[in-house]
């Protein structure tokens, strides 16, 4: 079994699976049980300043969307930061860390946007034994209206300023947690780096309304006839998070800045994907909230199994492996030509590929009287839609047309060499190429 031991900005943990700051890490009882179940680390539920804690709603705080068979795909919440007294949290953090010295324990923080508030909270957490802090600049509801959370995270100058305060008043490693509720995630990441952050973590939740009650005409979850936007997370947000992680990993300004990947991690495979795109470790919230702490056991066995198969002995060999292969559209090889191929033996003759291609794509699938489905190579543009709608995994494959052969759709010989849009004759930028 591959060794999953992980070191992230100097913080060691037996595996790269941390619980994200959220209800699973809200109290000592949870965190102890999480560690017993095998989690490598936790980011404690976000702490606020000293004084009366925030209050949560007392009606429902989650909404959801489901896939077939009621599999939970996306969760949305309107929960705030911890609603328990600061002292209680600090006492519990200290006690857990003492008993689990080998696990990572990070404290998530969110206090008002002035230097004194940050200096004060940092001093209070100093002797908990925690391994680092995470600055929650991401929460999109409730706290943002009070000038915290994503209200800070959406203004790069504020991120830089607060990060600088934190580095000035504390020697702890500092992770800046980013909000996805912005247009270009590279800007806040750059700001965090300028402020001296040791790492960024992303994503926090996405502004969302999951559904509307069509009898009461109110967004769900509905509280006494009203609802509000909440933070979206779970498997549905993974593609958004993966892209944001990749953007930061390949941005020359932030390349090499350690990233903790968050957003929809549910299986070992999700975790491995985040790591190949540059995440040094991952954080998980919804999967634990859906399936319980035990879900980490599959992540552990799956990742080590995968690493064994790949002959990798350390997770660091995985981190960033796919980053060089993330590029811009204009650099993709236009001379790489494929055609869909339907394997008749696997086909169950449902006709979904036909409907998709005939009605909405390129009319490239033929259907015979006795429901045999075949791809017309002279029409197929290799869009991949049929592959994605086919209910049988692996039934339709994309086969490359080898260089030197004729692409039946264009009637042209497939060139040997790489050729992208920048060099393409149709590119208006290449005025002379057309001649």
């Amino acid at each position: 079994m591959a060794n999953l031991a992980s070191e992230f900005i100097g913080i060691k943990s037996p595996n790269p699976f941390w619980l994200a700051s959220a209800p699973p890490t809200d109290k000592e009882y949870n965190v102890r049980r999480a560690f017993e179940a095998g989690w490598g680390g936790v980011v404690w539920k976000t702490l606020g300043s000293e004084g009366p804690p925030v209050v949560n709603v007392n009606g429902p705080r989650y909404g959801a969307i489901w896939g077939a068979d009621r599999r939970l795909l996306g969760l949305n919440n309107i929960e705030l930061i911890t609603d328990r007294p600061l002292e209680t949290n600090l006492r519990e953090i200290k006690s857990v860390k003492r008993d689990y010295p080998d696990r990572a324990l990070i404290i998530s923080l969110m206090v008002p946007c002035d230097e004194d508030s940050w200096a004060d909270i940092l001093k209070r957490i100093e002797d908990t034994g925690a391994d680092g802090v995470e600055l929650n600049f991401g929460c999109p509801h409730g706290m943002a209206e009070r000038g915290m959370g994503s209200a800070v995270g959406q203004v790069p100058e504020y991120i830089e300023m607060v990060t600088r305060w934190v580095k000035k008043h504390s020697r702890m490693p500092c992770i800046v947690k980013l909000t996805p509720n912005i247009t270009d995630v590279r800007k806040p990441a750059e700001a965090a780096k300028r402020g001296g952050a040791d790492a960024v973590s992303l994503i926090n939740t996405i502004n969302s309304i999951t559904s509307v009650d069509l009898d009461d005409f109110a967004p769900e979850p509905t509280i006494d006839g009203k609802g509000t936007h909440g933070g979206y997370c779970g498997p549905a947000v993974k593609p958004i998070a993966l892209n944001m992680v990749a953007e930061i990993a390949r941005n020359p300004e932030t390349h090499g800045l350690p990233i903790s990947g968050i957003g929809g991690v549910t299986t070992w495979r999700d975790a491995a994907e985040f790591m190949t795109l540059g995440a040094g470790n991952v954080q998980v919230c919804t999967a634990a909230m859906t399936y319980g702490f035990k879900v980490v056991q599959e992540m552990i066995s799956g990742l080590s199994d995968y690493m064994d198969r790949k002959g990798m002995t350390s997770t660091s060999e995985l981190v960033g492996r796919a980053v060089p292969n993330v590029t811009d559209w204009q650099y993709l090889n236009l001379n790489y030509i494929t055609k869909a191929k339907i394997n008749e033996a696997d086909c169950i003759k449902c006709g979904r590929c036909y409907a998709a291609c005939e009605d909405t794509s390129h009319q490239a699938i033929a259907m015979s009287e006795d429901r045999v489905f075949t791809v017309k190579d002279d029409e197929c543009v290799a869009c991949n839609l049929c592959v994605n709608v086919c209910p049988v995994e692996g039934c339709i494959t994309m086969e490359r047309v080898a260089p030197g052969q004729v692409d039946e759709r264009t009637g042209k010989v497939v060139p040997e060499e790489y050729g992208n849009w920048l060099e393409h004759p149709n590119n208006p930028g290449n005025a002379c190429a057309a001649e």
């Binding site: 068979d69 599999r71 299986t267 070992w268 495979r269 399936y291 319980g292 035990k294 879900v295 056991q297 599959e298 066995s301 799956g302 199994d305 995968y306 696997d346 049988v392 995994e393 692996g394």
Partner: protein
């Protein structure tokens, strides 16, 4: 001379050649990748899962199914084999409809449980096809343990002991290890020599010597085994067969169901196995059903299974009863055998109807029979053993017997159902207790 289904008496080769391979093909073939993913997707990953509680070996079912769902069937197999080293055989032979699948919450929800047994087979077959044995021996302890009987209980105990670094010798009178996996389980549940392949795979752990042709009571004595080893585990199953106790029982054609099945399991070619035209099986358990079904599959014209109590009291599960019915076996309940009739060989057998308390009703009937199989239970059939509890060796939760240094498990020991999976659990648990005792 060629025979067919109408040939009277006991005869081999009643069917055209190709029918045999069709009849004895895998009852539940292994799922393909697509089927496995669809089946795995139905599992809810329940907390403190009821299926897991219902499994005598407590396999972490939600975890292994999730591992299949995420494309790591070999990791799934490890999860299974950690708890149940014969997880491959159990996937084939467990009456899941009365164990894990009965408890599955999707049985409650839709009357259709997650296909746990078949998913288990998918995982274990994948690992075994890759030729992987995922366990390693601990450093040698220098302790020697004798395991008597190479059935599921003995093999499971031997593997766990070997893993802990002990040296194990397994003794068995039969020419092959495996116990009833090799000689008893219905042929269509364990095709292509799976039982023997699984034994070879299990022995890859090392540190286990199998000595065949060695029987307790005939050459081996418990005293000697105790003297030569640090501990002894008895796993001799139930070698004796109960008698009918009726007039004419000794006539030709009246046979033990287990012997018939053992011969059939060892036959290379099913067309050489003789079977009656009119076969009557007496009993209501798994052995009775297996004998009846396999008699039918060999080409017997009429096969009747007769049980002395009501259908609901039959030990064979509803699934097994339905399987028998679907193969054309007629099931008669509430009837007890009175006499075997015939001149030298059996020709007819007489029954009397009985009520649910086995009180005779005085009403009798006869069935034509040129072969009768007795499947009314097996017995220990020996006396040189530790104290008994009823008809089995008395043991505590971890398999300790009345004799110091002697443990027992599987069918020969008290407690638990007579099932492969129970035998595996008892062998494993006794091994842990032996290990703890020897290392204390």
């Amino acid at each position: 001379m060629t025979s067919n289904t109408l040939t009277p008496g006991i005869a081999a080769g009643r069917l055209p050649g190709e029918d045999y391979s069709r009849n004895f093909a895998d009852l539940h073939p292994v799922l393909d990748d697509h089927e496995a993913l669809v089946a795995a997707d139905r599992c809810y990953f329940c907390h403190d899962a009821p299926c897991m509680t219902a499994c005598p070996t407590s396999i972490d079912i939600p975890l292994f199914i999730r591992q299949i769902a995420t494309g790591t069937p070999e990791a799934a197999a490890k999860t299974i084999l950690n708890q149940n080293i014969l997880g491959g055989m159990c996937a084939r032979v467990c009456p899941t409809e009365t164990l894990c699948e009965e408890a599955c919450v999707r049985e409650t929800a839709e009357g259709k449980p997650v296909q746990i047994g078949r998913l288990q087979r998918f995982a274990t077959d994948t690992l075994m096809a890759a030729g992987v044995h995922p366990f390693e021996r601990a450093a040698p302890t220098g302790k020697a343990v004798a395991v008597v009987g190479a059935g599921p209980a003995g093999l499971s105990c031997a593997h766990r002991l070997a893993m802990h670094g002990h040296d194990v010798t397994v003794f068995d009178p039969r020419p092959k290890a495996g116990g009833l996996n090799e000689f008893g389980i219905a042929a269509y549940k364990s095709v292509d020599g799976f039982a023997a392949k699984e034994v070879d795979w299990l022995l890859q752990i090392g540190g286990i010597t199998v000595e065949t042709g060695q029987a307790l009571g005939a050459g081996l004595s418990l005293e000697k085994l105790k003297a030569d080893h640090d501990a002894v585990f008895l796993a001799i199953g139930l070698a004796g067969v109960n008698a009918l106790g009726v007039e004419g029982e000794d006539k030709d054609g009246v046979d033990d169901a287990v012997e018939f099945i053992a011969d059939l399991r060892q036959a290379d070619d099913m067309s050489t196995v003789p079977i009656g035209r009119d076969v009557v099986v007496i009993g209501g358990g798994m052995t009775a059903v297996d004998a009846a079904v396999q008699a039918k599959l060999l080409g017997a014209l009429n096969v009747t299974l007769v049980y002395r109590r009501g259908k609901d009291r039959m030990n064979a599960s509803v699934f097994e009863q339905d399987l028998a019915a679907s193969k054309g076996v007629r099931i008669i309940t509430n009837a007890s055998p009175k006499a075997v009739i015939g001149n030298g060989a059996v020709q007819e057998i007489e029954f009397e109807y009985t009520d649910d308390d086995l009180a005779p009703t005085g009403e009798t009937f006869r069935l034509a029979a040129d072969q009768v199989f007795k499947a009314i239970g097996q017995t220990l059939g020996r006396t040189d053993l530790p104290e008994l509890d009823g008809r089995k060796i008395a043991v505590n939760d971890t398999g300790r017997t009345s004799m110091a240094g002697v443990w027992a498990g599987g069918d020969c020991a008290s407690g638990g159902d007579d099932l492969t999976v129970t035998a595996v659990a008892e062998g494993r648990d006794a091994a842990e207790d032996i290990h703890a005792t020897l290392m204390a």
